[in-house]
Amino acid sequence: MTKNASAAPSGAEPKELSAESRARIEREMAKFPKKRGALLAALHIAQEEHGWISPALAKTLAALFEITPIEVMEVVSFYNMFYDRPQGRHHVYVCTNLPCSLRGARGLLRALESHLGVRAGETTPDGRVTLGHEECLGACAYAPMLRVGPTYHENLDVEQAKRLVDALE
C-alpha cells in the first residue's frame, strides 16, 4: 500500500486527546493483561480524532502507555492504517491485488489518477482526497472495488468510481 507519499495541507499539529478519547483508551487498556496491548486501539482512537499521529500526539500517547515516543512511532510506521503525516479528508483506496487486477482494477486506478490529477499515494491540493492502492481487502469476487475510509464499494466500473469520488465533500 502507498501511505504517506505526500502530506496533505495541514492546520496545527495535533497534540492533545479529548477527554472522550482518553476515556475510551482507558476502557481499552482494562481489557488487556498489560495496558500496552491497547496501543493499536489507542492509535485508532487518536486518528479518529485527529486524522494522523503527529510527533506531539505520539508523545501524549507514550506518556499514557509509559513507553517512549519512538516506540509509538515504530508501531505507527509498521502498520499501513496509521499515518505519520496529515491526510486528505477522504481516503480512497483501490485494491490492486491479483483477483481485482484480473478484473480491471489497475485501469480503474489509473482513471482515478487522471480524474483527480494525483498519483496513487498523493493527496489532492485542496486536501479533499488521498488516493492510494491497497492489497486484497477480502472482496475479491466483487472486483474491481475500492474503499472510502471504512466503507467498501464493490463491482465498480470507471464511471461509477469517478462519480463516487466526485460526491465526496
Binding site: L39, V75, L98, L102, C140
Partner: protein, 432 residues
C-alpha cells in the same frame, strides 16, 4: 457493502440469507447455543477436545493442523491464565470467507469459541480482526454485547461454573499479523514481527501465557460437530479431510463468489459447474487453488479433489480455499509481478532471505515483463526462490517462493517468450 449468502450453502452457511441468524434471538431460535450448553453441562473438557480431534476438523486458516489436537497441547491446571485467539486477520489475497462468517454468522463463531474455551480452560478470547473489516467488526461487537446480555459470555455462562470473556481487537493493515506469532506480538501492542518457535503459543502465547490460536472458520465448524457428532462430520468431505469449507472463487469466471462445498470437491467442478466457467467462451489457462501463497495449477490439472492429500500430489495446497481463475489471455509473468510485489511489500524484514529475496524476485520479474530479461534471469529466479524456503522465522518466506516456483513449473514458456521477443507477447492480458 454487506455480503449476502453464498451461492451454494451447507451447514455453516445455510441460514446466511436470513438476517435474523446474525442476531441472538434468531440464532437461538434456529438451535443456536444448544451445542455449547451440551458441551459445558454434559461433557468433560477432555471429552470435547477428543470429540473434535476424532472428528478430524483441520484448521481452516491455511496450515490445516487438526484443531482438537492443538487444544490438547494447552497445559492443564489453572496456575496461569490461559487464552484463546480467534484469527480474523484474513488477508491472504483471494480469501474472503471469514468475512462472511463474521458478517452473517457471528454467534455461530462465538459459540465455537465458547466450546473451545470449555475444552481448553481458557478464561479469555482475543478476536483479532483485520483493521479494514469495519463492518464485520461492528457485527461482531454487537453480537458480543448480545451474548453478554443473555449470559452466553461473562461470569457463570448459562448458569454453570464457566466464565469467559471475549475481547475484540482491531488490526491496522499488515498481512504478517495473520501469522499466529506476528498476531500475538500485535496483540501486545507491538510491531507484528513473528516470533521464533519454539516456544509455541501453547506454552508461551499472548502476554506470555498459554494460548491456542484458531481461525474464524475453524471455530465456526465446532458447534456442528458437538451437535451432530464425529461420524456425521466424517461422512462429509474426504477420509483425511472431513467437513465442508467455503471456497471463494474470483478472477475470470461467470459467477465469482462463495461456495460452501465438501472438501474433496473437484476443482473443475467448482470452476465450471458452480462458478460458470470463463466468460465469453474463452478457455482457462491456470487456477490458483488456495489463496495467493499456493502454487498455480495449469488447465490440464483441474481434475484434482480440493483437499490437501490430493493437492500435495500436484505440488500445491488447499490454503484458505481462495480459488483464482485466469483465462487464456493472461500473462503469467504479469501474475508473477503482482504476486511478488505483494510479498515484497508485506515482508516484515527480520530475515535476510525473505527481505532480500522478495525484493529480488519482484525486480527480476518486472525486468522480464518489460522485455529486458535474460535466460539467466529464469535460473536466478529459481535459485532465489529455493534459498527462501525453509530457512526463516516464519512460513511467509516459503509462501512467497512457492507461487513463483509454480509459475515457472507450469508456464515457463510464457517467461521464455518474453526473453526471446524482448517484450510481453500477451497484449490482451489484464493491465499491470
Amino acid at each position: 457493502m454487506a455480503l449476502t449468502a453464498p451461492y451454494v450453502t451447507n451447514y455453516l452457511t445455510q441460514h446466511f440469507a436470513d438476517d435474523a441468524f446474525g442476531q441472538v434471538d434468531g440464532y437461538v431460535a434456529r438451535g443456536g447455543y444448544e451445542a455449547a450448553r451440551k458441551a459445558i453441562t454434559r461433557m468433560a473438557p477432555d471429552e470435547v477436545a477428543t470429540l473434535v480431534k476424532d472428528a478430524g476438523l483441520q484448521g481452516r486458516g491455511g496450515a490445516g493442523f487438526v484443531a482438537g489436537l492443538k487444544w490438547t497441547f494447552m497445559p492443564k491446571g489453572a496456575d496461569k491464565p490461559k487464552y484463546l485467539v480467534c484469527n480474523a486477520d484474513e488477508s491472504e489475497p483471494g480469501s474472503f470467507k471469514d468475512r462472511i462468517l463474521m458478517e452473517r454468522g457471528p454467534h455461530q463463531m462465538l459459540e465455537g469459541i465458547l466450546i473451545a474455551a470449555w475444552a481448553t480452560g481458557a478464561e479469555k478470547t482475543f478476536i483479532y480482526i483485520r483493521g479494514e473489516y469495519a463492518f464485520a467488526a461492528s457485527q461482531l461487537e454487537r453480537a458480543i454485547e448480545e451474548a453478554y446480555s443473555r449470559g452466553y459470555l461473562g461470569s457463570r455462562v448459562m448458569g454453570t461454573a464457566l466464565s469467559h470473556d471475549v475481547v475484540l481487537v482491531r488490526g491496522a493493515g499488515a498481512y504478517i499479523c495473520g501469522e499466529e506469532t506476528g498476531l500475538l506480538e500485535s496483540l501486545e501492542g507491538k510491531k507484528g514481527q513473528p516470533r521464533k518457535k519454539p516456544p509455541f503459543p501453547a506454552q508461551y502465547g499472548a502476554f506470555g501465557m498459554p494460548t491456542t490460536v484458531n481461525n474464524v472458520e475453524t471455530f465456526s465448524h465446532v458447534p456442528h460437530i458437538i451437535k451432530n457428532g464425529k461420524e456425521w462430520f466424517r461422512s462429509i468431505g474426504t477420509e483425511k479431510s472431513p467437513g465442508t469449507t467455503i471456497f471463494g472463487v474470483s478472477g475470470h469466471v461467470v459467477r465469482p463468489g462463495l461456495y460452501e462445498l465438501p472438501l474433496g470437491t473437484k476443482l473443475d467442478e467448482i470452476v465450471f459447474e458452480h462458478a460458470g466457467g470463463v466468460p465469453d467462451g474463452r478457455r482457462v489457462k491456470g487456477v490458483i487453488p488456495g489463496g495467493m501463497s499456493m502454487p498455480i495449477l495449469p488447465a490440464g490439472q483441474l481434475d484434482v479433489p480440493m483437499a490437501n492429500e490430493f493437492l500435495r500430489e500436484r505440488k500445491s495446497m488447499l490454503g484458505t480455499g481462495g480459488v483464482m481463475v485466469m483465462d487464456e489471455t493472461t500473462c503469467m509473468v504479469r501474475v508473477g509481478c503482482v504476486i511478488s510485489w505483494f510479498f515484497r511489500d508485506e515482508s516484515c524484514g527480520q530475515c535476510t532471505q525473505c527481505r532480500e529475496g522478495t525484493g529480488w524476485m519482484n525486480k527480476i520479474l518486472n525486468r522480464i515483463e518489460r522485455g529486458a530479461g535474460t535466460r539467466e534471469d529464469l535460473d536466478v529466479l529459481l535459485d532465489v526462490a529455493g534459498k527462501m524456503e525453509g530457512a526463516t522465522i516464519c512460513a511467509f518466506s516459503d509462501a512467497a517462493a512457492w507461487p513463483v516456483q509454480g509459475l515457472l513449473r507450469h508456464f515457463r514458456e510464457d517467461f521464455e517468450a518474453h526473453v526471446r521477443e524482448q517484450k510481453c507477447p500477451f497484449p490482451a492480458s489484464f493491465e499491470l
